[in-house]
């Protein structure tokens, strides 16, 4: 039986880390309705947390003038798209996913490494004054 692709979305203004917490709570609740695997939802939460925190931290004032659009297609995999009107990414490309060296006891710089390890097909485009980030998760644990 082929599963039909369903699209879900949340539009939310993100100005503070408290807004990110609230959005993640909402997103995880929605994801748990479709995904029968708490471990998978937890992995997705890690990725979404890094991306949404980055918007608050680096997006600047233009990032919260419009809602951030988070949408995801649920089919044979879960494919996310996040659109924000914050500053463009440096050099208009994805940051390198390199992890910092453990021996230096790094206090940051883990985000993109984690994102790239947990999900796949991560891509970035700057379109009409907005950042478009796409990424996907494999899942065999969708609820019927």
């Amino acid at each position: 039986m082929t599963r039909q692709t369903d699209t879900r979305y949340i539009h939310t203004r993100l100005q503070t880390f408290a807004d990110v917490r609230h959005a993640l709570d909402d997103l995880c609740h929605r994801l748990s309705n479709d995904i029968n695997d708490a471990t998978k939802v937890a992995e997705i939460e890690i990725v979404l947390a890094e991306i949404l925190n980055n918007i608050v931290e680096h997006g600047g004032t233009s990032a919260y003038q419009y809602p951030v659009e988070i949408s995801w297609d649920i089919g044979t995999e879960i494919a996310f798209m996040i659109r924000d009107t914050g500053r463009p990414y440096p050099q208009l490309r994805l940051p390198a996913p390199d992890l910092p060296n453990c021996d230096d006891l790094p206090e940051g710089g883990f985000g993109w490494g984690m994102i790239q390890m947990i999900c796949h097909a991560v891509s970035y485009q700057r379109v009409n004054g907005a950042n478009l980030l796409r990424f996907s998760f494999a899942t065999e644990t969708l609820k019927p």
């Binding site: 917490r21 947390a49 021996d103 006891l105 206090e107 710089g109 947990i118």
Partner: protein
């Protein structure tokens, strides 16, 4: 950030009573733990049994505590839940801490080195 302290000879167990060490909580967490650490104990064990979620900011805060605790003192971890353990494993930061199944295990460990 609410912490419970369990001092015992050379070591101090610090239980974090919050579900998330994330970008919103990281600075308060770091300040609260630094204050709680004091100078009386050479070995700090952070008990994360009540923590469900750590993001890269929370991870950075935990590493920062180890980095700035001072010479001759150590910081280790206990009771990492699955999502927290995953973040430490993916970033390989599990290699810079000793990770105990529970705080009691850390408190009972006689072979600290």
């Amino acid at each position: 950030m609410e912490l419970s302290l369990q001092p015992q000879s050379d070591r101090l167990g610090i239980t974090v009573n919050a579900p998330r060490i994330d970008a919103q909580a990281a600075v308060k967490f770091k300040d609260a733990v630094h204050t709680a650490c004091g100078n009386d104990h050479s070995w700090i064990i952070l008990d994360l049994a009540n923590v469900d979620f750590v993001d890269s900011s929370g991870l950075g805060a935990i590493v920062s505590i180890k980095k700035h605790i001072g010479k001759g003192r150590r910081v280790d971890l206990a009771s990492l839940g699955p999502a927290v353990e995953k973040v430490f494993r993916l970033t390989r930061m599990d290699s810079v801490f000793r990770i105990y199944p529970t705080l009691d295990d850390a408190m009972a460990d006689d072979a600290a080195d």
